[in-house]
């Protein structure tokens, strides 16, 4: 066992912290209010290498490990969870998915621009009637010989408008059920793609979420990822890694709320003393710290297993379920510690509470994570 971070891991954590504490913090409230995409921050994070952190340096990636990724996601999400999810989707779903399962042609063509932030990617799996039930894809990809023809609608797509590269999951052979599903790399500007309106979300309002409609969209054969019928396996494997990103994002949201609650409790006075001197408040802070430490350890264990090329899917499910659930608890208590001030926007904790809620829902709800964990326990 070794709980020490390497010098590089710490330098990455500090670089992420420095960037968001210096830059993203300046307009995070305004972007939340206006639902404004953080284009300049995404560009800057790309230049610093945070959008393709774990990708091979030969494609312009950072060549860093998943542990570094957890540390960076945590720091970024402490300040701005919207920036966190944009980064998570690009790193763990799109870049990692392409690097792991794409062929050389696809990697050479798409990865460099996705790693340095010239382009960002989106992952299109959810549908109006296929969320947790991802195997029932209604979007179709008809095999037309030298191309596929995609028709259907995808929902809740993060980065839908700002992305240039879509990874789209669709059904080619309905009779084969989930074994007939394929995944494709689709240029967002392809004829036949249209976007629904910007979703007016409760939280993570600075990330752009839309539904995406496909009407007779032609996709060249060479853009299919893996063998015919590999799409569902592709999606599930990519989401295993994605869970580490979202778990770390939830961890960061909780950590950001705790830091603000500690600072506020040392300033605010009631009954003649700082409220941190009241045990009712101090114990809340202690509970937060224990939960956050547990969540961090789960995230790091899943990341470490992934870095060791060992099975990590159960641990990433545990990390995501636990970190998301405690993010909700911690942010709710952080609002409580702030009292009335916590309920107004300028103190940030109400925003963090709204952001925490989404971590229990997207990339597999907390209930879906429990299905994954319990099936593993009960499997003979």
């Amino acid at each position: 066992m070794n709980f020490e971070f390497t010098e590089e891991q710490l330098m990455i954590r500090d670089a992420a912290r420095d960037y968001v504490q210096r830059e993203a913090i300046k307009d995070v409230l305004e972007r939340d209010e206006k639902s404004e995409f953080p284009a300049k921050h995404v560009k800057a994070l790309g230049e610093l290498g945070f959008l393709g952190m774990m990708a091979d340096p030969k494609y312009g990636g950072g060549g860093m490990d998943t542990v570094s990724y957890v540390l960076a996601m945590e720091e970024i999400s402490k300040v701005d969870a919207s920036l966190g999810v944009i980064m998570s989707v690009n790193n763990s779903l799109v870049v990692w998915g392409l690097q792991k399962y794409g062929n050389d042609f696809q990697k050479d063509k798409y990865l460099p621009a996705l790693c340095d932030g010239r382009q960002i990617g989106a992952f299109l799996l959810s549908e109006p009637e296929a969320g947790s039930d991802a195997s029932h894809q209604h979007t179709t990809a008809e095999d037309k010989g030298d191309y596929y023809l995609i028709n259907g609608t995808k929902n809740w797509i993060t980065n839908a408008n700002s992305a240039s590269v879509y990874l789209v999951v669709a059904q080619t052979h309905p009779e084969k059920k989930h074994k007939g599903i394929n995944a494709f790399i689709v240029d967002k500007n392809s004829p036949g793609i249209s976007l629904g309106p910007h979703e007016n979300k409760m939280g993570m309002r600075s990330s752009d979420t839309h539904s995406v409609m496909f009407t007779d969209v032609k996709v060249p054969k060479e853009n299919r990822i893996g063998d015919d019928g590999f799409g569902f396996t592709f999606a599930m494997r990519v989401l295993e890694g994605g869970r580490i990103g979202i778990a770390s994002q939830a961890l960061g949201i909780a950590g950001g709320a705790m830091e603000r609650a500690i600072a506020y409790s040392k300033e605010r006075k009631s009954f003649g003393t700082e409220i941190s001197n009241h045990q009712a408040i101090a114990f809340k802070l202690a509970d937060m710290a224990v939960k956050i430490e547990n969540a961090r350890n789960l995230c790091l264990k899943a990341a470490w297993l992934k870095d060791q090329h060992k099975p990590f899917g159960i641990f990433s499910a545990m990390a995501k379920q636990y970190a998301a659930d405690i993010a909700m608890e911690v942010t709710t208590e952080a609002v409580q510690i702030h009292g009335g001030y916590g309920y107004v926007k300028e103190y940030h904790v109400e925003r963090l509470m709204r952001e925490a809620k989404l971590t229990q829902i997207y990339e597999g709800t907390s209930e879906v994570q429990k299905i994954i964990i319990s099936r593993d326990l009960l499997h003979d």
Binding site: E8, M11, A15, L48, G49, M53, G62, G63, M64
Partner: protein, 245 residues
Amino acid sequence: MKILVCLGNVPDTTTKIKISDNKLDATGIQWIINPWDELALTRAMELKEDANNLVDGVSVVSVGLASAEPTIRKALAIGADEAFRIDCEPTDAFFTATQLSLVAKDFDIVLTGIESSDYNGISVGGMLAEIIGSASVSAVSSLNIDADKIIVSREIDGGKETVTTQLPVVLTVQKGIAKDPRIPAMRGIMMARQKPLKVIAATSTANLTEILKFEMPQAKGKCKMVDAENVAELVNLLRNEAKVI
């Protein structure tokens, strides 16, 4: 032209300082590049990246034990080409300047921050110039290179002074020399370990000063709130308790 940036390894500026046994208790401290030195490094990098190829290389030097290496490697990650660590605990300004002179004599421009954020000595730069026999300009807030000349400006009472200077020169730089310190990019962090970090044996020299003791600043007094209507009470407190009027 070759630039050397002298780096101090100092506690993070948000550190809660504790003193035990008449020295800094280093437990749990996060160490950073002295903020003024970091600005000097930023300006050095900007000059190196200038399209006119005015700067051949940027090196960094720090006086410190092996525990200072993460701070030094951060400078390499930011973009310095090579680093030197002079292997000893930095003590007073003369001792530190003497150690720095081992490396500094080989450079055209030597940059140091105007002061260090830990001991606030403000003396190393001037001493270093004297030891290596170079020119020296203090409190520099802008630095430009014009062919083989350097142009610097410094804040003076009520205005700004622009000077040129012969080389080699030691410049102690202050705020204004560069806008913001740089954040190392992933690629830089990855490359940092492959860049040379040469460890140089310290030279034997004396300290000219000795710290006798440290004292923590007095705790802030309690704040008394006086009702806005009660001016008489405010005057009474200022006159009889605070004794300032």
